[in-house]
Amino acid sequence: MQMSSPAHEGRLLTYADALREAVAQEMRLDSRVFLFGLDVDDHKAIQGSTRGLLEEFGAERVFGTPLSEDAMTGVAVGAAIAGMRPIHVHIRMDFLLLCMNQLVNVAAKSSYMYGGQIRVPMVVRSMIGKSWGQGAQHSQGLHAMFMHVPGLKVVAPSNAYDAKGCMIAAIRDDNPVIFVEHRLLYYTDAFVPEQSYRVAFGKARLCTQGDDITIVGISNMLMECLRARELLADIGIFAEVIDPISLAPLDMATIANSARRTGRLLVVDNAWTSCGASAEIVARVVEAGRNGAAVQVRRMGYAPTPCPTTPALEHEFYPDPAKIAKVAHAMVRPEEPAWTPDPTQAKLAYYLKFRGPF
């Protein structure tokens, strides 16, 4: 089934192709834009998301690099300071840990530390992995680390429409933007306009309306939340599902308004909960609470363990639609016994086809 969406027709494009189209359009418009990173120019082309760029723009503007993430991030910073607009691609977000010094100590701080004399307009693309035994070092969602640091913008589009619009906005932004992608979103499709457009940072999207509970889903977890919403609807619980899209800046007004109205907020992150995006969102909603209007809050995310490879344990590690629906049910109907969705229905939820931008 298809969720409500402002764009119900037009051309269907996958998330990977939307990323590729956004970059290609910007590279045609602006000769300062270039794309580089390990494997961007090989036959697999970062799961297709850089396919054809080398052929169209040449090796001067699309190139692979040595395995030197630290220096290559510095190269992006230096090129950005010189007036170019680099897009640095990492096939897994885990590799950003090799870039932290340049991202946190240099890119994030240059505008401030040099009194506005220096700008660092760069995009850092990175993909969160999941399943097929990706394991502890190919599956981490580390966006909260970057949200922590002033001077960085962080976006995590959940669908092809937002992927294109956020990418164009990121390339045109005069600041470093951490662009969080998810492997499982790559082959999802959405109606994506052919023309260029931007999705503004700092504006959340209300995906579905509901009066019983507000559920915020980050990155791929938004998909899981929408599936959970279907399971909940079967028992008469209606969830308002919100996609924050950008995590820094964060549109707290949309989330807090909804949470105040429903009285319940469940944040489901594609990451650990400790000191995470979910902790931040919940804290800000609580801080903004007025007149004793309490909002019941819960967080869900990775189990507080490294990610295991075997499917038997991986299943335990991640939130899924059934687990999300179960927690939401307990929040909405605490007087009822615990409810677990029918396993067949939960499985069927994965056959639901959601097409953004919702």
Partner: protein, 344 residues
């Protein structure tokens, strides 16, 4: 004047000065050149001596890593550059910043934490910057500016200019992984970047002998197919000559070049004092460097009245800069939030 013989040890023949005639041409200095180089050396020395004088008053609100003793490296290299060439100095950056023409008043104001400083008082001594003079911002984290300089050079090459970038860094920075990563990429892409290692033999208080398995730094760099040269005695004119040749080759697209400049830090790692009493190094170690002081040496090459005139001009500039720093206002509270993001 007589050209000083090259005692610089080159691990390869010096391609930029293959003949004595070349070396002569590179080194041929007129009175104006000597005066300019002297002025730059003397300005840096005197500015830092004034910082030492003011420091105990606590009016300077910034840790300072003084360049005294190492001025010749910055001056010799920067004198070989055009105004549109770019330098990426280190947190021990007063010398390079001033040698490249960075504003003295804005630097002093920055050290005082004033709103008129290079970064409005938010950077201090360790984050000097002057983009109008193509001085990239300096960093307090060793080695971090090396890849940034390489990236800037990548952009210059992409834009098909003949401008060059100089990456200054210390001996300690060559131990960071990012150094190896950066020189490899620069060599791979034949980028117009001159790597200048100021080897003052200490990383804070740890001597090279306790940090390096081998002191064959130039040989290490050469394995990346980067021509590497070493200057052992901090001779400003030799360094300038080396840099002139190197920059000419960089403009021709030959790819990066590396120079190890051995030098000596006279003062403590951070702060205004001598620290020979601390025991990690001896004052005897400094003796040859004192005797070889390039400020004195250049002064001896000039007519005394000329020197006096330059000195007087420098004193006037310093007095004005200090007055500017002291009379400037501190930033107001709302400035705290300015420039977290570009243009905000």
């Amino acid at each position: 004047m007589r050209v000083l013989a090259f005692r610089t040890r080159a691990t390869k023949a010096l391609p930029m000065a293959q003949t004595a005639a070349d070396a002569n041409a590179a080194c041929h200095l007129g009175a104006a050149d000597i005066e300019r180089i002297y002025r730059s050396l003397r300005l840096i020395r005197r500015v830092e001596e004034e910082i030492i004088r003011i420091y105990p008053t606590d009016r300077i609100k910034s840790p300072v890593h003084l360049s005294i003793g190492q001025e010749a490296v910055s001056v010799g290299i920067c004198d070989a550059l055009r105004p549109d060439d770019v330098i990426a100095p280190t947190y021990r950056g007063h010398a390079a910043y001033l040698a490249k023409g960075g504003s003295l008043s804005a630097m002093m104001a920055e050290l005082y934490g004033k709103s008129t400083g290079v970064a409005g008082g938010k950077g201090g001594s360790m984050h000097l910057v002057d983009m109008s003079r193509n001085v990239l911002g300096t960093s307090a984290v060793v080695g971090t500016t090396i890849p940034v300089a390489v990236g800037y050079a990548f952009a210059l090459k992409s834009m098909k200019t003949d401008r060059v970038v100089v990456a200054f860094f210390g001996d300690g920075a060559t131990e960071e992984g990012v150094f190896a990563e950066s020189i490899n990429f620069a060599a791979l892409r034949k980028l117009p970047v001159l790597f200048v290692c100021e080897n003052n033999f200490y990383a804070i208080h740890a001597p090279v002998s306790r940090r390096w398995a081998s002191d064959k730094l130039c040989e290490r760099v050469e394995t990346y197919d980067i021509p590497a040269y070493r200057c052992d005695d901090g001779d400003v004119l030799k360094l300038r000559s080396l840099a002139l040749g190197a920059v000419r080759r960089l403009r021709g697209g030959a790819g990066p070049i590396f120079i190890e400049c051995r030098t000596y830090r006279w003062r403590e790692h951070v702060g205004p004092n001598f620290d020979f009493e601390a025991g990690y190094r001896s004052s005897a170690e400094m003796e040859p460097w004192l005797k070889n002081d390039q400020v004195e040496r250049l002064a001896a090459l000039m007519a005394p009245e000329k020197q006096a005139k330059i000195d007087a001009g420098i004193e006037q500039d310093i007095t004005q800069a200090i007055r500017f720093a002291e009379s400037s206002p501190f930033p107001t509270a709302e400035a705290l939030y300015a420039n977290v993001f570009a243009g905000t």
